[in-house]
Symmetry: C2
Subunit: 153 residues, 2 copies
């Protein structure tokens, strides 16, 4: 079974921006039930439907399928409003591939750094710009950000 293990942090400075390359993303949810989320995402010129199960610790079942971009544009209209818009930056540090998401719209001001790991106890080197860990804080789940936006926290 494909399992996603992910740790999530705030950022403490803008130092991550140097040399980072970004992709615009727009995503919405067909289901936001924590036991079974269904996400439609457009990432640059690519699009995906992604199904995730309930989190257990840092791990979560994840199934992702590429779909035509034109379908995704229609499917985003079927999603529960509002949509989430963000730029995902890839930042390489000490052999790790960090994903730094900068949110827009009603989540503007929020920047989150994520690292996918092979196991829950895998060691990794923290970049200097890394802030507090929020892996266990459900407010930072993207499925929740669509309902409870950063501007209302």
């Amino acid at each position: 079974m494909p399992v996603e293990i992910e740790r999530k942090f705030l950022v403490a400075s803008d130092a991550w921006r140097e040399g980072a390359s970004g992709t615009m993303m727009k995503q919405g949810y067909l289901a936001r039930d924590p036991d079974r989320t269904v996400r439609i995402r457009i990432a640059g010129e690519n699009a995906f439907v992604t199904i995730k199960g309930r989190r257990s610790g840092l791990a979560r079942d994840e199934f992702e399928y590429a779909i035509p971009l034109s379908d995704a544009e229609e499917l985003l209209r079927l999603c529960l409003p509002p949509l989430i818009e963000k730029t995902r930056f890839i930042v390489l540090h000490a052999g790790n591939r960090w994903e730094v998401d900068e949110f827009y719209g009603d989540n503007a001001g929020l920047i989150v750094a994520e690292l996918e790991l092979p196991s829950e106890d895998a060691a990794f080197e923290k970049p200097s710009w890394l802030g507090a860990e929020v892996s266990d804080d459900p407010r930072y789940f993207n499925s929740r950000l669509a309902q409870h936006q950063f501007k209302d926290w």
Copy 2:
């Protein structure tokens, strides 16, 4: 946009069974919201994720993607219980391809015949075994049958 236009009927006799070939299907729902249903279906050796929008008259937006059978088996475990099991029979009549679904489990006894049409007012010849039309009766939506099973009607 892919749109599904479908008329749905009960059956008045078993005459449809002659020469019909059937495929076992098992399906469940990740979302049953009438505005956005997400279905996982195993049909014989094939599997699909299917997303449908709200019905408008007889029509409904429909997006279907083939997925690996092994993924579908995992995904059925993420679905809202209970699952629906049925055999789908293909019955050819006067140039039309009828789908006759015979349900099992807690929907046993229910048999429904469906015809997909190119437009809402398309003419078609009714087979002798066709019963009352139930296109507009939400009790017969498969997403509803998973919640309100035939045995409890």
